[in-house]
Subunit: 727 residues, 2 copies
Amino acid sequence: MMNAIFKGVALLCVVFAFAQAQQSRPNLIISADEARSIKQAVGKYPYFDRAYEEAKRNIEDALSRPIDVPLPKDAGGYTHEKHKQNYREMQLAGFLFSVTNDARYATFVRDMLMRYAELYPTLPNHPMGSSEAVGKIFWQTLNESVWLVHVAQAYDCVYDWLTPSDREKIESKLLRPMAHFFTVEHVREHDRIHNHGTWTVAATGMLGFALRDNDLIDKALYGTKKNKQGGFIRQLDLLFSPDGYYTEGPYYTRYAIMPFFLFAQAIQNNRPALKIFEYRNQILKKAFYAALQQTYTNGCFIPINDALKEMSFLANEIVIALNIAYAQYGGDNSLLSIAKKQKTVMLSGAGLKVAEGLAAHPIVADFNWHSIELTDGPQGDKGGVGILRSGNSADQSLVLMKYSAHGESHGHFDKLTILYSDQGREILQDYGAVRFINVEPKNGGRYLPETSSWARQTIAHNTVTVDGISHYQGKIDIAEKQHADRHFFSVTDSFQIMSARVAGTYLGVEMQRTVALVNDNSFKKPVIIDVFRVVSDKVRQLDLPFYYLGHLITTNVKYTANDKQRTTLGKSNGYQHLWLEGEGKASGPVKVTWLNGSRYYSVVSSADSSTSVLFTRIGAGDPNFNLRNEPAFMLREKAASHVFASVIETHGSFDGVTELALGSSGRIDAVSVLASNAEASVIEISGKDVRWILMIANGPSSGTAKHTMSINGAEYSWTGNYSLKRF
Amino acid sequence: MMNAIFKGVALLCVVFAFAQAQQSRPNLIISADEARSIKQAVGKYPYFDRAYEEAKRNIEDALSRPIDVPLPKDAGGYTHEKHKQNYREMQLAGFLFSVTNDARYATFVRDMLMRYAELYPTLPNHPMGSSEAVGKIFWQTLNESVWLVHVAQAYDCVYDWLTPSDREKIESKLLRPMAHFFTVEHVREHDRIHNHGTWTVAATGMLGFALRDNDLIDKALYGTKKNKQGGFIRQLDLLFSPDGYYTEGPYYTRYAIMPFFLFAQAIQNNRPALKIFEYRNQILKKAFYAALQQTYTNGCFIPINDALKEMSFLANEIVIALNIAYAQYGGDNSLLSIAKKQKTVMLSGAGLKVAEGLAAHPIVADFNWHSIELTDGPQGDKGGVGILRSGNSADQSLVLMKYSAHGESHGHFDKLTILYSDQGREILQDYGAVRFINVEPKNGGRYLPETSSWARQTIAHNTVTVDGISHYQGKIDIAEKQHADRHFFSVTDSFQIMSARVAGTYLGVEMQRTVALVNDNSFKKPVIIDVFRVVSDKVRQLDLPFYYLGHLITTNVKYTANDKQRTTLGKSNGYQHLWLEGEGKASGPVKVTWLNGSRYYSVVSSADSSTSVLFTRIGAGDPNFNLRNEPAFMLREKAASHVFASVIETHGSFDGVTELALGSSGRIDAVSVLASNAEASVIEISGKDVRWILMIANGPSSGTAKHTMSINGAEYSWTGNYSLKRF
């Protein structure tokens, strides 16, 4: 009997709690409880206060101006920007109303929603729309989704304050028609497994929560057919690898991650039983940390694929993801150093937690960047990226090798490319995309044609182009079906090494690249060893460029300089964008030294008299001055099979103020390939007081297989995938 | 009787004080009193403590190693660097002995001096010496002077501690022979009015004070003949203009200023009656402040003439000059902000004063950079440089026009050139020198041939080249005899303007350039107006380039791009170093817009269908990759007389993180020359909600002359050298 009573009371409590959760507003990104906590907290936490005061200033300013809800006309001009401003202001005003209960804010949201409720039913498709995903308020549905993500929050905040007739008008004229627009008229966008799809389901799902419409919520979560073939859950399954790698690469991760975290926050508040932040072994946590691990210590996202190099973890999308991740995943204080650099927090309970953390920890340790391999593909079986790091965040060396899948429409044809960063800057660069984002005179701020003709081509990258043709013939439909494969990835204190291979870039050609980062007491900075093996069915032209940034200091190559007249290196596949500045033949290992900032860098590569060395500069075939005019040197071999073995040595120091310049010659003079066959490659590295032998297994990956190579009477034996011997 | 007694006592005091001044050691850069004060101060002032602890670490380290005084062999290798290290260590050890009385320090100085006393008499001329100024310890006497400046201080510090026989040996084998070397064997260097001469007289003069040798002191002060035709005083008279401008320009000022201040400090301590810091209306103070006014707010010296752009007020030479200037000239707290950035102070009484100042003023105002004209020439009648600034040090616009004398062997042929800096960086650049200082593989770190073939040529600068030939035919012997002339220089809050002219750059050609910096409420940043008038005896080719830094965004010029094949713009006078990237004809005012950092910049220039516009890039004729590959565009006219009237507008904003790009089009669309004759030029500037008329008098400078120009029936009247009307 007592038991039954207890059970009854307990049940009542659950029902009550559930009803509470259903009834208290707001409850999308901030809960009613959080709104109360924020009210108490104002004035206590500087980072939160700054964001809060800025929001107040913005909205007070908005209140002083007449509301404008213009007829949509342009794709980047006044009406476009005004509608963006409107959704931001509604979201902020809704938030401020929840915290302050000041009716002026609610009135503002209502009045603006009423204007939209009048306008929206009259709107045809947007006049600037071009693709199938044409919006009404904006030229593309993507922006319309973002609009709704913000407006759903605003509506939720003022819902209780609105009169039933206001609600009726807003819902029937604006919100319900928009739900129909997305889930019926644009069902393809809505159910698509793509970052645009994530914005769409976040929009309809958050509207569903605001309207308490379970049907709409279920469509957002499981696809319009509710069969789990589309929708948010399916996106969580397919858009990230098990390590959290987002297939488009870091620049787009930054963009895609925001709707994931916002919608997850709304789901957590409204359907806590889903445990969305725990879903798929905490895939959202993995996605977020993977994104941060794909930044360099200067905060910039590593610019593989179409990427703009200035983009960093200071972006608003990362502020939001960081704040929610901090709040949901146990308050990892290592995130606070990044929050500090972001200088702001989200206006929500999560943001308040970060601000509290910052106040409690005036001195915070740096974020823990470390070496990491991130597999690609939903099952983690489509290659990946390997990142080797050495040194703390104040002075870190980073080498990345890309052996992932193509990465959709913004992917580059650059299998096995590498990048090297040091001193907080790029040393061996990836060009990124050719785009001046939102810069009107540069093609309206969109991608420029040279993104396709140059930046995506293989020759624009630090990898091998065969016979002057890009990987997969530069065709996305072929590239999308293939990927590179990891061979091995191993990290210890003094030696880190990764290896990957790819077979389908050219018919009859297989490639394997192995990159090691060696910490050795006799060198001040880590030494990079780079072994690129190409096995081909016939003699081909193999080009391996190094896009160094800095000023060329010296080379041991005797070259002829084309310094009176100059032509392009080729006519297609990106070669038309390279000036040939000089050309020479090697007479032994090639050495090229350049200066960047306060250090020298030397590449020393195995070579002989059959090796051509080309000095090139980006910028040819560029009538509109869209390209940066940056240099490279390129090793060219004509061979059926070949191993390019190189060392990248960081050495010396330069100081323009004290005028001290030391160590302009590196210590390593020679790299040679002692042997390379289907079983293994053996590379010798030598110089002043250095002799190293690197042995790499080329067969199946195995940590226990024993290898022996006999070379000119000497035996080289080791166990496992690799071995570095230092003499 | 009482009077006589008083007089006697007073006289006694004077004699005593004089004897004290003569007898207490040390007394060159620090006095015995200061050494005692420093002993008391250790541990109290963080900036001083840091420098002091570093010196102790250095010397403890030196004490732990065997002394090495190698046979001089090289000009930049081990023996060169070792002798430099030795003098620094002796100077520091001497200082530490004076403060601590720890005999280990004195022993170190003695032992090393003894080694030099043994070596020096055996030395022939240095094996690497090339010029007439060959040293013995170093390849050039310049380094030998610097050695002695340091060693004189060290000897002075340990003098009292040494035994008479030690002194006898050191003086007779080393110091006296060195005095003879400078004042007899190298009398030309010693008596030369040149920065090398300043180092020499500082060396012999400071040795004179250390040895109490009035003859040697007088030779340093007044020349070896003591006739005031050479020596330090004469250098103070001739090497600076009355405004303190040093004729070689800012980069070399930084280098030259150190021996001036060090020797002056020693003179002040030993011959206070000379009042050396008051000499010539405090010329040393003027020289020091003029040097700082020739830095941009990022600390870098404005790179006119042969200059390396990294050089800044952080240089040790400026630390020394600043510390002594601060102590001698009343403790100007505006210097503390610079001392703070230097992060160190001199180890002397002056350095202690700065450290005390920094401790007393934890928050200091920024240094007061302001608009300034600095005349050149000992009488201030050889032109000068004009610097216009707007905005505080956090975000300052700076325009410099150079209308000085040639500036000796490091001068450039660039009369009336301009530079523009904004956002803490160069926007319209001066190339500086072509040199990788002390970078061994780049010609031993010396000036590269392209300094002469490119950087010094007129076409390398933002000024007019006539008929493809550099000013003064690029001949230094002609250029050294001539100079440009100031016309007027006027600074008010909202309008700053400077004008200068030159007649001798080409026979039959006169040039006048007027540059205004306009602050106008309707523009966020100041607008620059640039009016370059050329009057010639016949039709000539007039080239005016703008060496913009940043990325070209758009131009209204229809041009043909040479983007498949490219040749040089010319064959000589620097033209051989320019690639011609594109070429077009104007059809009205020319507009070119580029992006640099977070802002756009547009040049709008008067032009018509007779105007050619050339797009060029530096880097041709450069087989050794010595040049930076940076762009320019160039206006070309074929005319007997012509006025290039331009506006440089700074506009909009770009942020790669928020991806906001605003205001990529400037407001100014047109600049036209309404009239220009011997009396005046009238320029019209127009654009969106802008119409300005700038009137410039071209005749003799007069603030009261009345001018009227009738142009197409309209009358333009004004009084004085200029007038800007804003409609």
